[in-house]
Symmetry: C2
Subunit: 355 residues, 2 copies
């Protein structure tokens, strides 16, 4: 395995959108010299202004990170290989398509594809953060001619950004993300598309469930069209499987065959259980503790101080803050066995909890 | 409109699962006498033990809330109408199906259907909370013969639980939830079902997107099968629309027709924009501020104290706590225009932020 100290810089980042700027910020924060390129002078200025690095001035880089839209990946990777002797990676969502354009070129042994599993439905340098990759998987996809040194350097980049490198072949990667990213995106878009056509008043019944299902469908349509198109074979295989299941589901609902509907829903439950825990470990059972928090400055701090004093580790927090109400509701997620202790402890300190 | 003081109790809750127990807890917390019934002695004991009320002993209720699985709703509503002169509501996810069984019965003017838009992928009384309905929409669906007094009383129940009553016809309700709840659930199950069949190692690339899309697919398959079956007409209409769109999508991806794929994705974006803000208001643009927080007790409290002192209202919080690391990452969501001020303010107090 790799060590992040292999990477000494300079690092050139080509394309200062959300991913490129986030990588540049993480590299710059760790003390590396970062060189930025972008065809948009606006993006370049914004990224530099955020402290992501300085405009590319011809300084030879140790590593080039290509972070441009899918349709331009192949050309930009090839240009980067031609321009210097640097190792070149890209962070595109599809790995076999750019490889086809690089294969056979001089210097292709210096190319190693990669793909951080992080992003946002927002885009552009202003949405960037050096913390975007913290604890996230980052696929490293060497091809057969990639040199071991190049692979090590790209893994060092992932580590430097706080991510967890996961090595796989480009083909395996593309089939994996078709399932874990591209199919979910397309289906979320189909569900969201039905909302766009809802009769007046019907969306008043929108709950948290449909918000979660459709959140990623807000992503940039042109970017996603390019991703889908670059991975069309793997995506089509899965879309056909879903079409077949959907036909089954429609027949079963139409015929009132409850057992067939249940079987499809049970496979869904099995799928949610197959997802690994956030940090690769097992999913730990948590319970929600709800606390009323007056809408005054400092009350949230007092709640966390009291929760801290009860010696219960808070796994996550949600704040449901309705601007029209004098009291907000805070949901604290804690290990299942610690919820009762936290509740009594907070109540003893005068907090109104909901059981 | 209604006043929550109309409801003076006793309230009888039939069925002490997640919803029934949550309603009982909210009513009991506001000082009402709550009577609990369940065919499961276990659930009844648990709900009483949580403080949700006392076992039904024949005391005549003012209001009966039927909270049983969809297949049993009609029979339980009818039984409740026969048993006393109380107003009867149910909180089932489908409103026309139980109504068909009630229509024409003596006392049907005392029945008003309702449906709180809140729930959880967990079930049973232990997952219940009196805060479950806080700020959520609660559909109130009178039929043509419902008496105004009965409607007022059921609205008072929704208000008492902290929810926002939304009045509509049973038919309109069912078409609305087919779109905002039942279709999203089925599609989430189809996406999750593909994960269940993933080759080994592919799920290592699971990101937050697919977790969100599939979260609700973890719900109880038998319960959801009954919901879908009770609302099959409205669900089939939407499933057919999705099938047609899916066919279009498959042809477009197969033929490399980028513009058609983009059009489908754009309709998805339009759908996400059509969703109202969490509390019915407009969606306010927020920005994420990431802060490193050492994994010591009290550090979270210190962060919130410092954030509070900077006079920035925190809209939501996410904690990304990897047990293997000495430092956790906390994401604070704040109004877009306040992010820079919060960042500088926290940095001045010694916090490591990510820009």
């Amino acid at each position: 395995m790799s060590d992040q100290d292999e990477l000494t810089g300079p690092v050139q980042v080509v394309g200062t959108g959300l991913l490129g700027t986030s990588i540049a910020l993480a590299c710059a924060a760790s003390g590396l010299d970062v060189l930025l390129s972008d065809t948009s002078a606006d993006h370049l200025r914004t990224a530099s202004g955020l402290g992501a690095g300085r405009p590319f001035d011809g300084t030879p880089p140790q590593l080039v990170v290509v972070s441009v839209p899918p349709d331009h990946l192949g050309a930009e990777i090839a240009a980067a290989l031609d321009r210097s002797d640097a190792v070149v990676t890209d962070v595109g969502s599809v790995k076999t398509a750019p490889l086809r354009e690089v294969a056979g070129r001089a210097g292709s042994n210096r190319y190693v594809g990669s793909h951080p599993m992080a992003g946002s439905e927002r885009s552009g340098p202003l949405a960037a953060s050096s913390a975007l990759f913290e604890g996230r998987p980052w696929a490293i996809t060497p091809h057969v001619l990639s040199s071991p040194e190049a692979v090590t350097l790209v893994e060092a980049l992932a580590l430097r950004c706080g991510a967890v490198p996961v090595r796989m072949t480009p083909d395996e990667h593309d089939r994996a993300v078709a399932r874990t990213s591209h199919l979910p995106h397309l289906l979320a878009a189909l569900v969201a598309g039905r909302l766009a056509e809802a009769p007046a008043g019907h969306l008043a019944l929108t709950g948290q469930g449909v918000r979660d299902v459709t959140r990623i469908a807000a992503g940039d349509p042109r970017l996603w069209q390019q991703i889908i198109s670059a991975n069309s074979d793997a995506v089509l295989t899965l879309l056909s499987e879903v079409r077949d299941r959907l036909e089954l589901l429609i027949s079963a609902v139409d015929a009132g065959e409850g057992e067939s509907v249940t079987a499809i829903l049970e496979q869904g439950v099995a799928g949610t259980k197959a997802i690994p825990g956030k940090h690769g470990g097992p999913v730990r059972p948590t319970r929600s503790v709800y606390v009323q928090v007056p809408d005054h400055p400092g009350e949230l701090a007092r709640l966390f101080a009291d929760a801290g004093a009860s010696d219960v580790n808070i796994e996550d927090v949600h704040i449901d803050h309705d601007p029209g109400r004098p009291v907000g509701l805070v949901e604290l997620l804690v290990a299942e066995g610690r919820a009762e202790h936290l509740l009594s402890s907070l109540e003893a300190r005068g907090w109104v909890t909901h059981r």
